[in-house]
Amino acid sequence: MSTDKKVQELKKRRQEVQLGGGEQAIQKQVAMGKLTARERIIKLLDEGSFNEYDMFVEHEARDFGMDQKKLHGDGVITGTGTIGGRPVCIYAQDFTVAGGSLGFMHARKITKIMDHSLKMRMPLIGINDSGGARIQEGVNSLAGYGEIFFRNTLASGVIPQISVILGPCAGGAVYSPALTDFVFVVDNISKMFITGPEVIKTVLGEDISMEELGGARVHSETTGNAHFFSESEDECFDQIKALLNYLPWSNTDSPARKKVLEPLKEFNISEIVPSEKRQPYDVRYIIRAVTDGSDFFEIQEHWAANIVIGFGTMNGRTVGFVANQPLVLAGVLDVDSSDKAGRFIRYCDAFNIPIITFVDLPGYLPGVDQEHAGVIRHGAKVLYAYSEATVPKITVILRKAYGGGYIAMNSRHLRADFVFAWPDAEVAVMGPEGAANIIFRKEIATAEDPDQVRAQKVKEYIEKFANPYVAAAKGYIDSVIEPRETRKSLLHALEVSGEKSVGMPMKKHGIPPF
């Protein structure tokens, strides 16, 4: 039967393509400690769920001997599958085929699957492992990048977009991950930079390795470009699956409802925060003390750790948490922490995820470097993001809430829906020490014993202002609660804001300070 013969031919063609760049190239990939593109997709998706698209696509390049070269799949594997039974679109660049370089057809395969993910309202996962533009294809290659960036932007805030960096991602290519929601990196494998070490050395004389310039640790700790760090590809895939558990499939969808659990007993909320405000604690324990099953999935854990962001579950539903972290840099707001919080707040708002904010901060970080790095502009992102967000917004003031920091951290004035405060909370323009020095400057300066008078005035100020009741008297705080009432109060607040509806003035879009 001729059909049999044709089926045999199809099988043969498939086998050829599935070999990617061939045995030798695969061995090289393995020697670099990397999985192949196909292995990655299969590991990440539910077993047997992968449907490949455009397997037989071929490039049309003619110059520089390209017409003699056959590149399987044109260096990228695309398709659909499921994760946790829910559909996703995925693409993985195949480094074994011409170094995963991006040519015109390679890009067209990617943009096709991107269009599909937006049209069908499902998440897009892009696995990056590419030497960059396919130089032989010239401006067609650049056009490909541009088409990808444009689609990343269109899909932003509509479907979740995840970038996984499992190899080099250099030059213009870095801007697709940068435009997506979450970037995953793996130690010793991920490398991202605009300009590589060689050029930097030639031009500026700076001698730096790829790893030091744009390795996984650098992007997790220093630049904030990456959101999740792991030590192996397998761990990275587990992280992606865990993240997807919290996300809705689009901006009109809701995250899957989970079983409601009580927080674990080991997180006793009444014993976490020292009442001596100089003393630190780990605010993540507070989050775990209120969430279902003490569940908390932290984002950008290693960067700007003075603010904590991440997802948790309350009453079976996903909630976004933003919390000052007294354990690191006393929990101040600064350039990086403002940037981190601002973007996350906008993420939650775009995907209808309620936001709970825990406040305990001494203010903004002083310093010339901060001022010159634009802490005004970056700090404004937090104000903008909270003000603009229309999802339920709930605040708990744990201890200190001073000055501009108090306003920025989802205060009533930025239209928080509920503001709770613990009895230890201090809501004031500044801490008692600073305030007393200003208000009673003359009295302190002219006193016989200035230190004694200062101490006395600080004490007076503490008695008068260092409590939640001044703000509560104005209605800026809705309710002063005992620490052990926190989960109950939060659950109630979430319950009554389920149908929240607020209007915003008609506009094309705002001009956030980014």
């Binding site: 865990a242 690191v328 970080l365």
Partner: protein
């Protein structure tokens, strides 16, 4: 999940024992590497002429002891294939020249000093 376990272990392993002063209060906390490495600001000394970019000193147009006026070309610093003329920011006497022609210098390297 490994993600959350790691973060908790880390916080237990590294107690906060440094101090950060904000608003007259010293808070016990943990400082970050980035914070420790922040650049300490100093008022620039206009009399000390430093390289604004790494490059090669192609030629020196002045001598020690020579009087110059603001705007006098001092030397050519070649970098990124560009010949950058370094001008005197203010008038004075060349006190000392720290580099020689053909020398490669990193960024912020002291080139010469005005008296």
């Amino acid at each position: 999940m490994s993600n959350k376990d790691k973060s908790l272990n880390k916080s237990q392993a590294e107690p906060a024992k440094e101090s950060l002063e904000i608003g007259g209060v010293g808070y016990t906390t943990r400082l970050t590497e980035k914070f420790r490495q922040r650049k300490y600001w100093e008022r620039p000394d206009e009399k000390r002429i430093e390289s604004f970019i790494p490059g090669t000193v192609q030629s020196i147009m002045v001598k020690e002891g020579q009087e110059v006026q603001a705007g006098t070309p001092l030397l050519i610093l070649e970098a990124m294939k560009m010949r950058n003329e370094v001008l005197a920011p203010l008038g004075g006497v060349i006190r000392k020249i720290y580099v020689s022609e053909g020398e490669m210098v990193p960024k912020s390297h002291l080139l010469l000093e005005l008296g």
